[in-house]
Amino acid sequence: MGAELTKLFELVISSSLVNNFVFTWFLGLCIYFGVSKKMETAIGMSVTFTAVMMISAAVSWLVFNYIMVPLGIEFLMIIVFIGVVAGLVQGSDTIMRKVSPVLYHKLGIYLALISTNCIILAVPLMNVGNHYNFIESMAFALGSGLGFSLAMIIMASIREKIELADVPAPFRGLPMAFIISGMIALAFTGFSGLITL
């Protein structure tokens, strides 16, 4: 039991800090740069993304291990995972609209954006590649959500300040954001070797 929990904890730390999806794998950059301009959009996106990530990781794992492996059609996994995510996102959009209009007004716009996030495909693929069991996949997905949230919140707080600073004209906006991300990625390499999985 202790070893199990340790492994889960290590998975969460690994996917959120050591192998952060934005700063180590450089995935999900579209959303990352687009949404991290303001703190409130960054937080909204983080919450929505973590929720959708965990649900889609769970569903993808079940579909893969109980339907695709017995039938031997694992080679379709990319298409199937994307299909699962798209269906989930659309379904939750429709349900949220009715069940909680307040939540929909705040977070509904981010749902459609999530299906374009590379991480939403990367996590199930990695779950498959590393042969994680169900709980481990969930932990991995949770870690990825937390890591992505961390990345966006750090970026949003920096970008809000940078907007008021005296940046040279060619670098204003996105170029400066790229440079800053590179520097944060450099900083995050400090975590490497923390957990060897």
């Binding site: 694992e74 379709l76 379904g91 349900i95 300040k161």
Partner: protein
């Protein structure tokens, strides 16, 4: 039955490119799927077709069902009203977002249709039509800066080196301007204006474009010195100072600060100016924008936003009663009794008092000449 890898290797050999076979992936994409010696293709094709079709069908059904079951009824008028709004997300209507105002105005009978000031009068009338409400004519309002302290006219207490934003500058002990009630000029208002109506000029003061300003009020909330005010656009004569400091201190920090001398209070023919808290304020209800106080103010604090004041001229309707001669504050009118009088354009300041008092509306040229004539006509038709 068929080993795809072997087939590809054979084809490459045919073209004598056998070395290229090294770059062929030996395992599946995205993670280690065990490579198999050989695979049965036909069952795979069957399974994948059935599975994909099944998954697509299942998702389609679930989503269609969800769309039906969780359908939200939206009044189509909300969409139409939403299209008419300005979508500046300024908060002038008092609602959290433009969509919320559209919903409220359609569903709630007590919400007026004129709250979206940026959308203008035309939109207000259309919204009123759509929702069956009345739209009162809105007077054009505009934001004004109640400070005339440009860089050349004021003194700075210290050198401020930091984020060039008023909200940041004000954190350093109230800002670097000697007068703590004045505009700091770092451009917070310019940044928050959703219509780009405010520009910071070289003199360090914000300049508001009257065509773009919609009086949404974002600059008023954003200004940390609370030096912006929304006033009717027609009220063009303002005391551009809110300094509560005593006159001696004000003079040291700003050459155009109000010294509360009370001259404007004394000479205003409409009692619009009043001095309280060491600065003068013009009551917009009483002010007739004559511009008299502008020339009489010793500090030059009172600003006249009317760009050109046309001078008065007397037309042939003049009966020579001489009322205008007495009224004119600068003694610009002269003439013999019962004969047509004349205005000296050199002295005339275009205040419009003469046009207002003339019993036969013999004045032309001044800004209020047409208004006075129209008002007199209305009175005549009413009686």
């Amino acid at each position: 039955m068929y080993d795809i890898h072997r087939i590809v290797c054979d084809i490459l050999e045919l073209f004598r490119l056998a070395d290229l076979a090294q770059i062929l992936p030996q395992v599946g994409v995205g993670g280690e799927i065990e490579a198999k010696e050989s695979i049965d293709v036909w069952p795979l094709i069957e399974y994948s077709l059935i599975f994909l079709a099944g998954m697509g069908g299942l998702f389609g059904f679930v989503l269609a069902f969800a769309a039906k079951k969780f359908a939200v009824e939206i009044d189509p008028r909300v969409e139409q009203v939403n299209d008419l709004l300005a979508h500046a997300h300024c908060g002038a209507c008092g609602y959290a977002g433009c969509e919320q105002y559209a919903e409220a105005v359609v569903n709630d009978p007590s919400v007026p249709a004129t709250l979206c000031t940026p959308a203008g009068e035309r939109a207000a009338r259309k919204i009123a039509e759509l929702t069956g409400k009345k739209a009162e004519a809105l007077e054009k309002k505009i934001a004004r800066v109640m400070c005339g302290g440009s860089l050349s006219k004021t003194v700075k207490r210290y050198t401020y080196e930091g984020i060039p934003d008023c909200r940041a500058a004000v954190l350093t002990g109230g800002g670097d301007k000697a007068c703590i009630y004045g505009c700091l000029g770092y451009g917070t208002c310019s940044r928050v204006c959703p219509f780009e109506a405010i520009k910071i000029c070289e003199d360090g003061l914000p300049h508001i474009d009257p065509d773009k300003c919609t009086a949404c009020g974002m600059c008023v909330t954003a200004c940390p010195k609370k030096v912006m005010e929304i006033l009717p656009a027609s009220k063009a004569v303002l005391v551009a100072c809110r300094s509560k400091d005593k006159a001696a201190f004000t003079r040291k920090s700003c050459t155009v600060g109000c010294i509360a001398c009370g001259i404007c209070e004394k000479i205003c023919p409409f009692d619009a100016a009043a001095v309280t808290n060491n600065f003068s304020k013009i009551d917009p209800e009483k002010c007739r924008i004559c511009g008299l106080c502008v020339s009489k103010c010793p500090a030059g604090t009172i600003e006249d936003f009317m760009t050109t004041r046309a001078k008065a001229t007397i037309n042939d309707a003049c009966i020579g009663c001489g009322i205008c001669v007495k009224i004119c504050p600068v003694d610009a009118i002269a003439g013999e009794p019962k004969k047509k009088h004349a205005v000296d354009p050199a002295k005339c300041i275009g205040c419009g008092l003469c046009a207002a008092k003339c019993p036969v509306q013999a004045f032309d040229g001044v800004f209020n000449a047409e208004q006075v004539r129209a008002a007199k006509k209305k009175l005549k038709e009413a009686s």
